[in-house]
Each structure stands twice: as C-alpha cells, then as structure tokens.
C-alpha cells in the first residue's frame, strides 16, 4: 500500500513537472505538435516567437503580442460545427469550396467588421492543393487589420492557417515571416 501511494505521489509530481503552467512559451525555432495519436503538425518559426500554451488543438503564436501579429493553426474536422457559420467542412472538398466555407466562417464572426476580400487564389500547402485568401477588416475596436487565411485538406482533416496583423506597418512587417512559416508547414 505504501509503495502504491509513493508511486501515485511520484506520478502526480511528474505530471506537475511536465505540465507547462506559463501561458506563453518560446517556440524555440520549430513548433511540433508532437501528437502521439492523430495527425501531427509542424511549422518553423523564428526563435523569438512565443506560442500560447494549453491549446487542445493547433497553434497560436506571436512575437510582439497577440494584437500586433499572430499566426494561428487550427484543425477543422469534417462535419463538425465551425465557430461562426452553420456551414461545415466536408470530406473531399475542393480547395475553392474549402476557401468559401472558411472565409464565410470569418465573415460571420461578429468581431470581424466590414470584411473585404482582397485576393483569393489556389496555393500548395503542406504539399497538398489548398488556398490562400487575403482580407481586410476592422476588429471590434475599429482597428484596421489584414489577414491571410489559408486552408488545406490533408487526408480526412482540413487545416486552417491564419496570419493576422494591424494593416498599418505590422502586416507587411511579418508577412515574409508568415510566408516562410507557411512553406514549412507539414502534416504527418
């Protein structure tokens, strides 16, 4: 009984040690979801970028702060509800159909006002046919922001990769960083 209790105490302590309590942590050059089960994603980011901890799925990363620039990755499972639109992603969707659904999800977000599509085109992402859409909008405080919304279907999952930054100065400043990160995005 004493051994069992000691083992339980050790397990609890170990769980405590390996659990990252800090809300943010440096990405350390390359983010790897390290999933033991399910699809595993990776993306190279500059060493000074930080990632948000305690996310169940995907990545939220920034260098100077969430409001100044961010790169977000989320997995979108076919048939599962999206945060804003009632449309859903379906298996086997073509890139332009996926673009339509994910863009409409952003368009329906109550905090994204006056959304205007600046450009939308096919793009190869993680070695698969996807899309890249650039939009301009105002956030709920009226700040003009620009976003690059990308998406791709890999096997049975869709992946959404978004870069968002204030339209003035910051968007252009880190666009090249985002492009490099996007080119390094992999799903295994």
């Amino acid at each position: 009984m004493r051994i069992r209790l000691a083992m339980l105490a050790c397990a609890a302590a170990l769980a405590g040690c390996i659990h990252d309590e800090a809300p943010w942590r440096e990405v350390g050059g390359k983010y790897d979801s390290g999933n033991w089960f399910g699809p595993r994603i990776s993306m190279a980011l500059p060493g000074d970028w930080m990632k948000l901890n305690h996310l169940d799925d995907g990545l939220v990363a920034t260098r100077d702060g969430f409001n100044l620039q961010s790169i977000k990755i989320r997995r979108v499972d076919p048939g599962k509800p999206l945060p804003h639109t009632k449309k859903t992603v379906a298996k086997g969707m073509r890139p332009n159909e996926l673009a339509e659904v994910l863009l409409d999800d952003l368009r329906t977000d109550g905090s994204a006002n006056g959304l205007k599509v600046l450009d939308t085109r096919p793009a190869s992402i993680a070695g698969a046919p996807g899309f890249r859409t650039t939009v301009a909008l105002r956030d709920s405080f009226g700040l003009k922001v620009k976003a690059v919304l990308c998406g791709v279907m890999v096997d049975d999952h869709a992946w959404q990769i978004v870069y968002v930054a204030p339209a003035r100065h910051y968007f252009e400043k880190d666009l090249a960083t985002f492009d490099a990160a996007l080119a390094s995005f992999r799903v295994r």
């Binding site: 945060p83 804003h84 639109t85 009632k86 449309k87 332009n96 339509e100 409409d104 368009r107 329906t108 109550g110 905090s111 006002n113 006056g114 599509v117 600046l118 450009d119 939308t120 085109r121 096919p122 909008l137 105002r138 956030d139 709920s140 405080f141 009226g142």
Partner: protein
C-alpha cells in the same frame, strides 16, 4: 465570443438580475416634461451612449448609408414628441448583422440590425419598432434600470463594439416587464399619432418568433427578451382589441419602405448565406425579387444558395437560377461566374469557358481571378 455565447451570457445575467431584483428605483418625468434637467448619473449614461455611438461607427459594424439613415431618421422624428426632439439626440444606426435586433441608447440613438429591416414589410412595422424603442429613451427607462440594478453585473464587454457599462446594459438586454409594456403601449400611441396603421403592431414580433424558431434559440436577446415574445404579442393584441378597436386603416408606407431598404434585403440575404442560413437567404433573395423581378444579381444569389445547400437537384437547381440571371442581364458578373462554374461541373466545356471569360471581362479586378483562370486552363486541357 460567438453570438450564441453572448446570448447565453446575456440571458444568464438577466435571469440572475431578475432572481434578486431589488425594489424599483423612482420613476423620473419624461424628457419632454417642462423643466427637464438631466441628473448627474444620467449625464454619465448619456456620455457613455455618445461614446458607444462613436465606437459603433468606428468599428465598421454600422452601415454607412446616408440615404437610408436619412429615411430612418425621418420616420424616427415623425414618431418622437416635439418637446423630446429638442432634448434627445435622435438617430438611427443600422448594424451590419443578419440577426433580428433593435435597442436604444439613453440619449435616443436607436440601433437596428439589417436582418430586422430586411424582414419588416412596411413602414408601419418599422414605426412600431422605432416607436417602442424611442419610448424607452423619452421616458428615461435607462436611468431607472441603472439605479435599480446598478450593482448588477456588467454585460457591456461581451457585446459588439464595446457598449458602455451602465444604463446601456438595460438597453441591450431588455427592460423590466412593466417598462417594456409601457414602451409597447406608448410606442403604439406614437404610431397612431403619426398616422400609421396600428393593425401591423404584432407583425414585427411574428417575424421575431419565426427567426427564433429558425435559429433554434430560446429567446432573442435584444428587443424582445423580456417579457417573452408571446406576452408581448398578447399585449399588442389586447391594445388593438380595446384602445384601437374602432381604428381602421392608416398609413402602411409599403412602397416607401421597400424602396428605402431594398438593397438591405439583398445584403442581408448575402450575410445569411455566409452564415449558412440557407432558408432566410433564399427568402431574402425572393423578397428582393418581389420588388425587382428582373434583378439578375438576386437570381444569381438564388443560384449560390442552391449550389451551397446541395441536396436533390444539386446541379440542375443552381444552373437554372444562373441561366435566368444571365438571360435577364448578360452583364451580371455573379450570374456569369455561377453559370460558368455550374456548366464546368457538368463538363459542358465550351459554354463554361464562354461564361467564365465573360465574368473576367465584366470583372477585370475580380479577387478570384486566379481561381477562374485555373478553371479556364483546366477546361482548355492545359491542366491545373
């Protein structure tokens, strides 16, 4: 936070507030009363309302459509008692949302959504909504609610464009039952005095009830939260049976209204489509066609609805709508685009190419040019 989550938060706050409702604060004379003077805390509410208005406009959530604002303001001014007009900052803002909501700030700023404007059928119904909201401002309901519930939780941060934290809470979550009834009763009196047809009184609530059913939500969180919809309709029916029993006719203002909000109907239908609400999107497009039967863009929108909705006749349905759009107006880019893509899906290569080329000619700066050029390359066997 999603709209649904906001509704849940608002409902939870309201339920909490009702459960521990403190005694009602003393009523104040209306702003139209002689010798009206704003009280100190009320001044603060008004300042917040002005800030909220500025934030709303800056956020891009409010539609900038001068002609429409002028029309709505005209109806609001026709409703507002003269003495109150001198003291309130009466204005009407249209929120770019397909939902059905309306609320008023303490200083007389009415906010109404595109979705609600799109569903109302005539000016009399609009007057009923605006009249109800304006009574809250004229009778200073916000300050009464603020004083009654000032220790209640602030909802403001959860709402669009950061509404102020004080009396605006009541404005957007709905007022107490007695104040809502007062707004129903006196609002309808303003409608009658303005010469509109009071028989339309329950229609805005019927639209709300239909929306609540479509959206599968328990109650809309703005405009009609409290008392519940059915109670509100019954209160109007009782007024029509009693006070307005002998009153027949009145100004409906149907054509005037439909002319003013026509483009809102189509824009709201597009927002509904983006939100995946195919039924309301189709209804909106058809409502627009009822006013402009030869509007190619509305037929193209019906094609988009049919294409995205899928189901039986997933190919034939949209194709017929796009064909109609192009037959009505060959210069309709949305029609040509939809037609080209629908024909490409059917492998009708020549016709698809022709339509897609027409689309690119009509929209030289099309944001989706790269997609369409890719489709054209595939149709021409150049691969993609």
């Amino acid at each position: 936070m999603t709209a649904r989550a906001r509704c849940a938060v608002a409902a939870a706050l309201l339920v909490t507030a009702c459960a521990v409702a403190p005694p009602r604060a003393a009523r104040l004379p209306p702003v139209s009363a002689p010798g009206f003077a704003m009280e100190r805390d009320e001044r603060r509410l008004w300042r917040e309302a002005a800030e909220m208005d500025a934030r709303a406009r800056k956020s891009g959530a409010v539609l900038e459509e001068a002609a429409l604002e002028r029309y709505l303001l005209g109806v609001a001014r026709r409703l507002t008692p003269r003495a109150a007009l001198d003291r309130l900052e009466v204005r009407v803002r249209v929120i770019e949302s397909p939902g059905l909501s309306a609320f008023v700030s303490p200083d007389g700023g009415v906010f109404v959504t595109m979705g609600l404007l799109a569903r109302l059928e005539n000016e009399a119904q609009l007057a009923i909504v605006l009249g109800h909201e304006l009574v809250h401002a004229v009778n200073r309901h916000a300050i009464v609610e603020y004083r009654t519930f000032k220790h209640g939780a602030a909802l403001a941060s959860a709402l669009p464009f950061g509404l102020g934290e004080l009396g605006t809470k009541a404005a957007v979550t709905g007022y107490s039952r007695d104040l809502e009834r007062e707004a129903d009763e006196e609002g309808l009196a303003l409608v009658a005095a303005g010469g509109w047809d009071v028989a339309e009184a329950t229609r805005p609530f019927e639209h709300l009830a239909a929306w609540v059913k479509e959206e599968e939500i328990e109650e809309p969180f703005l405009f009609a939260t409290h008392p519940r919809l059915e109670e509100r309709m019954e209160s109007y029916r009782a007024l029509l049976r009693t006070r307005y029993a002998g009153r027949r006719g009145g100004d409906l203002g149907k054509e005037r209204y439909q002319g003013a909000v026509r483009e809102i109907v189509l824009a709201s239908a597009r927002l509904d489509l983006a939100a995946g609400r195919f039924g309301p999107a189709e209804q909106g497009a058809r409502a627009y066609l009822a006013v402009r039967p030869r509007a190619a863009e509305a037929h193209a929108l019906l094609g988009d609805v049919a294409r995205q909705r899928g189901g039986d006749g997933a190919d034939a349905g949209p194709l017929a709508h796009y064909r109609t759009a192009v037959e009505l107006d060959a210069r309709c880019p949305e029609g040509q685009r939809g037609l080209g893509l629908a024909l490409a899906k059917r492998n009708d290569r020549d016709a698809a190419r022709s339509a897609l080329r027409a689309y690119l000619r009509l929209s030289p700066d099309a944001v989706d040019r790269a997609w369409i050029e890719g489709d054209l390359a595939a149709l021409e066997g150049r691969g993609r």
